[in-house]
Structure formats: structure tokens, C-alpha cells
């Protein structure tokens, strides 16, 4: 067992996959030099520039070339430097990678992994902070995971590389160096689409993912100590597909659901979770299905005061829990 940060876990997942299977390559901006977050540190020395490919600054080409290479025996891990910069590649992801299998009636498939550091809370301003998971979770044919722990990052990234479909791996960048976690020495994967119970509870189900999972655990601890409220925290980890069964099972037990997400309130992925609970879990509910998210302003303004004001945090989550608990 070794203690690793999430960033080291991401590095190790790719490194081990490239060792395991010579078809795996990484490609993206600055990856040759190690990448802006150092996720590919030492890759050129180990694997050479043909398997750790510095691309021109052109996101549609990064994804589009990865798609083409995946049709001809290569398993590319494409890195989009910040999720905010995936928008120029939106067409390649949505029109091409996602639809290739369906439109060819299952005769072509597109086994690419697209990594994107995402999320706010790091003074990244409006273009290094966005949550993009709702855009891609909306699209049949793509799989989307949101990771925020070293263990999940490594296991889900490995699953993405081995998946025959295009998988978008959203790595919350505020979690990159948040803490160290002991990881198994042996190879392991985590299945895409399976949520994890982070804290057991009986009064409220709190469904979340990404950095909000860490904030939610703090809030759950606070209300447990101060109010005696027992909150069950579920980390979705995957938003497409997502673990509806696990969520509904929890709501059945607690009767109350709070969905916490970092993205804008309107149309964020948590809205889908809330709607599903309202429709399929109606008989279980003893209070309103509640959402806590960022307000509908561009995420995130640069000044710390502005950014802190809009993002959900443990205090805001604590308040939301107390309100829901009072029903």
C-alpha cells in the first residue's frame, strides 16, 4: 500500500495502463512536458514521444484524431487541459464519438478516454472552473464519470481505458492534491455506473459527487454532532450511466432527499437526480426533494469573495440539511 494524492493516482492509472497494453497512448496539450498538472510526468522518458503525444492547441483535433486512431487499433487517452476548453471539441464528442456505434449499427466502436480536469474553488475564473458533466451526461453513447478521490480516480480511469465506449473522465481539480489515500499495490478497477455509500444514515439521503462530496461529508458530520441528524451520503461517481437503484434504495430508507451539485442550479445533473427521485420515489418521500447548487451565474468569478459567495460549501449544505430535516 502506498499513500497517493488523486493526481498521483491519475498518473499511476495511465502509467500502469500504458505498461499493461502497448495500444494505450496519451495525447494532449503539454503532455510531453508532463502536463500543466504534472499528470504525465516522466511519460516521454518511459514511453517515448510516440505514446505521449504533444498535440497542437486544437481541441477538436485532439478528440477527432483520438477517435480516428481508436478505429485503427489504438486506445487513446486524450487530455483536454481544462474541461472549459472541451467546448471546441463538443461536436467531435457529441456528433462523432457518441454516435459512431449507434449510427453504424454496432459495427464501429470508439474506445477513447477523454480526461478533463474540471470544477471550481481554485481561483480559476470563468474559464478554468466550469462543471461540464450535464452537457455530456445528456448524450446517449457517452459515459461520464466524476472523480474526487485518489481511489476512485485510479479505478475509474482504468475502467475508462478498458471500456469499448467513449468515456469522459472528469477529475475535480480541487481534489487533485486535497489529501493522500492508501491505494492497493495490485491492479484494480471500479465499475462505471456504481455509486458509493460514503456515510450511512437514517434521516436524509444526500446525493452528490465531485468536490461537493467532500463538503457534504463535513456538513453531515456537523449536523450529526450538533443536531443529532443522521445523513446518508452517496457519491454517484458516475453520472452516465448513474446508479438510480442505489439512490432510490437510500431514499426509501430515509424518506428525504437532498441533491448537492456544484454546477448551475438550472439543468445541472442534480436536476435529473431530483426528477428521478420525485417520479420513481414519490411513495417514499416525507419532504420536498431538495437541490442545492450554484446560482445561475457563470462559474466562477475570479475574485475569492465572489467565488466563495456562489459555490456551495459545508455551511450552505448544513443549512439545507437542517431545513429539510425540519419537515
Amino acid at each position: 500500500m502506498a499513500e497517493k494524492t488523486m493526481l498521483e493516482a491519475v498518473h499511476d492509472a495511465m502509467f500502469e495502463e500504458m505498461k499493461r497494453d502497448e495500444r494505450v497512448i496519451v495525447m494532449g496539450e503539454d503532455v510531453g512536458e508532463g502536463g500543466v498538472f504534472r499528470a504525465t510526468e516522466g511519460f516521454v522518458a518511459e514511453f517515448g514521444p510516440n505514446r505521449c503525444v504533444d498535440t497542437p492547441l486544437a481541441e477538436a483535433a485532439i478528440v477527432g484524431v483520438a477517435i480516428g486512431a481508436s478505429l485503427n487499433g489504438i486506445l487513446p487517452i486524450a487530455e483536454i487541459q481544462f474541461a472549459d476548453f472541451s467546448h471546441p471539441a463538443f461536436d467531435q464528442l457529441v456528433s462523432e464519438a457518441a454516435r459512431l456505434y449507434y449510427r453504424s449499427n454496432g459495427t464501429w466502436n470508439c474506445p477513447i478516454t477523454v480526461r478533463m480536469p474540471y470544477g471550481a474553488g481554485i481561483h480559476g475564473g470563468p474559464y478554468h472552473s466550469q462543471s461540464v458533466e450535464a452537457f455530456y451526461a445528456h448524450v446517449p453513447g457517452l459515459k461520464v464519470v466524476c472523480v474526487a478521490t485518489p481511489h476512485d480516480a485510479k479505478g475509474l480511469l482504468k475502467s475508462a481505458v478498458r471500456d469499448p465506449n467513449p468515456v469522459i473522465v472528469l477529475e475535480h481539480k480541487k481534489a487533485y492534491r486535497l489529501y493522500r489515500q492508501e491505494l492497493p499495490d495490485e491492479d484494480y478497477t471500479i465499475p462505471i455506473g456504481v455509486a458509493e455509500l460514503k456515510r450511512e444514515g437514517s434521516d436524509i439521503s444526500l446525493i452528490t459527487y465531485g468536490m461537493m462530496m467532500h463538503h457534504s461529508l463535513k456538513a453531515a458530520e456537523t449536523v450529526h454532532e450538533q443536531d443529532g441528524v443522521s445523513v446518508e451520503v452517496i457519491d454517484l461517481r458516475s453520472v452516465s450511466p448513474w446508479d438510480k437503484a442505489r439512490v432510490l434504495e437510500s431514499v426509501k430508507k430515509t424518506g428525504k432527499a437532498l441533491v448537492v451539485y456544484e454546477d448551475n442550479f438550472t439543468g445541472g445533473f442534480g436536476a435529473e437526480v431530483a426528477a428521478t427521485i420525485a417520479q420513481d420515489g414519490f411513495d417514499y418521500l416525507d419532504g420536498p426533494v431538495t437541490r442545492l447548487a450554484s446560482p445561475d451565474v457563470p462559474i466562477a468569478p475570479f475574485a475569492g469573495e465572489l467565488e466563495d459567495f456562489i459555490l456551495p460549501n459545508p455551511e450552505k449544505i448544513t443549512t439545507a440539511i437542517r431545513k429539510l430535516a425540519s419537515y
Partner: protein, 332 residues
């Protein structure tokens, strides 16, 4: 009698190969005409074809090794699909969106050719998204140490999207074995070339990507073949991409939903009709005593039989099961 190889402009092809070229062009034309007819008869809701561009499509593709090299066609490329081995039956099954449609099982629109066995990569409708894919296919061949090349086509409108620039730039940097063919028919639906680009020949853009670009007469099948052959040799030997601009003309409307009388004069269309590439190549073969009337009848009869058989088969083939719309969204 002179050997074929001594005929100027025969590009080193043997008589049988020249006749095969002609057959593929004629068959492509026949399929396109049948597709439009079936659409007008109300049997298929949409048809999109490229009559007039057969010399470019067949000539360029003829330089490849089918099943070894890759093609990433655009929606006018019946001639590309035919040349690498799709049959009239394959194409009409797609036109009528039948279950057996090898390209998509009725999921994609007609003329969105695909077949892994023939290395035809499935395409979409947003224009020129296939160019980065072609570069990726070629890049993968390089990484794997294979001598496969990729040929990708697009129209003149297809020279404008950002994907085209990004693809060519990437290919130039990595010297990818890819051949970009622009089938410049002068119109992106109704938008003239002068509104698409400020240069007369788009092939000059290749210089900006560090590889050669040539403009050829796209209605001269042997000229296109010659340019493609050279480009394939360059690609295969590790010298990187080539941009081939083939100047041609679409003799029909953009699609079954278009009326080109709104934007093209009949005089212009008729003038290009006199440069019909299929007729032009037939005359060339006749002038060089490579075919006689009897041989031409034989070839044309063969195409007619093939298209009739294909029509009957496709019309009688079953439609996809409605509930199969939910299947094959994700690979297992």
C-alpha cells in the same frame, strides 16, 4: 498496335484496369440515377448523390489498395464506396433504410457509407468532422508501423470548418499518411466558391501546413488517378500528406430536397453537362481503340442488370424492427 502503357495519359494502367475504371464510373452514375428515381417514386424520403463527380471519386479511390487502405467519404461519394467494394445492393438498402443496410441498418441517412471490412469509416452530417478521423486513422497506422494510408474527401464548403484546418495542421506536423481530396464543385448548396474562399485554388493552403497541394481537372479521371497515385506513394513511403483539389461540377441539385434552379442558370448546368466525366472517359477509351460499341454495350448492360437486381432486392428487404431503435447505443 501500340501498347496501352505507351498511350499518353494512361498513367501506366492496363486495358483491363482502364475498363474497370470506366465500369465503376458508369455504375456509380447508374446507382445515383436510380436513387433519385426511387426517391421521386416516393420509395425513399431522401437521396443525395454526386452525378458529375465520378471521375474525381473513382479516380482518387482507384489509387488505393481496397480493404488495406482506409476511406472516409462524404455524402456525395457513391463512386468512392463503389470503388472500394460496396455494391449497388448495399447502397439501395441504405437508400430505403432497410434492416440489412450494411452502413447503418437504417439509422444513418443514405450515402453515409460505412463498412469495417472495406475500411470505410462511418460518417456524420456535420461537414468535415471526418478529416480529423482520417488523420487519426493514419496516425495509428504510423504508430503501428503499418503502411496503410487514409483517403478522406470533402466538398468545397468542407474547406471552411475549423476541423479541416485542425486536421491538416496535425497531419502536416506528424507527416501522417493521409490524402485530403477536395471535390470542388463550385457550390456549397447555393454558396459559390467566391463566397467560400478568397483564393481561386484551395490547394495553395497546403503550403501553410507544410505539405504539397495540387489542383487537378476533376472531370478527367486519369488526371485525378495520377495525382492520387503520387499522393498515395508519398504517404506510403513516409513523406506525409497531400491535398488534392479536384475541380468538378455537380450536375444535379444538392439533394432531393433542393431546387438548384434558384441559384444556377440552366446554361451553366448544360455547359458542364457537355463535360460529363463519364462520357468524356468513354470517348477517350474509344479514341484509343480500347473499347468498341459491343464492349460498351456489354459494360452498360452489366450495370443495368446489377442495378435492377439491387432495386428488386432492396425493395423487398425487410425494414428494421421498430423496437431495435433502442439497441446498440453502447458497445458491450
Amino acid at each position: 498496335m501500340v501498347s496501352v502503357k505507351e498511350i499518353p495519359g494512361a498513367m501506366g494502367l492496363e486495358r483491363e484496369q482502364l475498363l474497370d475504371l470506366y465500369y465503376k464510373m458508369f455504375l456509380s452514375r447508374t446507382v445515383a440515377q436510380r436513387e433519385r428515381m426511387l426517391n421521386r417514386l416516393g420509395k425513399g424520403p431522401f437521396a443525395i448523390t454526386g452525378e458529375g463527380q465520378e471521375a474525381t471519386q473513382v479516380g482518387a479511390t482507384f489509387a488505393l489498395r481496397p480493404g488495406h487502405d482506409w476511406v472516409l467519404p462524404y455524402y456525395r461519394d457513391i463512386g468512392v464506396a463503389i470503388t472500394v467494394g460496396q455494391t449497388p445492393r448495399d447502397l439501395l438498402l441504405a437508400l430505403l433504410s432497410k434492416s440489412e443496410d450494411i452502413s447503418s441498418g437504417g439509422r444513418n441517412m443514405p450515402s453515409h457509407f460505412s463498412e469495417p471490412k472495406l475500411r470505410i469509416v462511418s460518417g456524420s452530417a456535420p461537414v468535415s468532422t471526418q478529416l480529423p478521423h482520417a488523420v487519426g486513422v493514419a496516425f495509428a497506422a504510423q504508430l503501428r508501423g503499418s503502411d496503410e494510408v487514409a483517403l478522406v474527401t470533402t466538398g468545397d464548403g468542407g474547406t471552411s470548418p475549423g476541423d479541416t484546418h485542425e486536421a491538416m495542421n496535425f497531419a502536416g506536423i506528424h507527416k501522417c499518411p493521409v490524402i485530403f481530396v477536395v471535390e470542388n464543385n463550385g457550390y456549397a448548396i447555393s454558396v459559390r466558391w467566391s463566397q467560400q474562399a478568397a483564393v481561386p485554388d484551395v490547394s495553395v493552403r497546403a503550403a501553410g501546413y507544410g505539405f504539397p497541394g495540387v489542383t487537378v481537372d476533376g472531370n478527367d479521371v486519369l488526371a485525378v488517378y495520377g495525382a492520387a497515385k503520387e499522393a498515395v506513394e508519398r504517404a506510403r513511403s513516409g513523406d506525409g500528406p497531400t491535398l488534392i483539389e479536384a475541380k468538378t461540377y455537380r450536375m444535379v441539385p444538392h439533394s432531393s430536397d433542393d431546387d438548384d434552379r434558384r441559384y444556377r442558370t440552366r446554361e451553366e448546368v448544360e455547359a458542364w453537362g457537355k463535360k460529363d466525366p463519364v462520357v468524356r472517359f468513354q470517348k477517350w477509351l474509344e479514341e484509343h481503340d480500347l473499347v468498341d460499341r459491343r464492349k460498351l454495350d456489354e459494360i452498360q448492360q452489366l450495370a443495368a442488370e446489377e442495378i435492377d437486381e439491387a432495386t428488386e432486392y432492396a425493395e423487398n428487404a425487410p425494414k428494421p424492427a421498430p423496437e431495435s431503435a433502442l439497441e446498440r447505443v453502447y458497445a458491450d
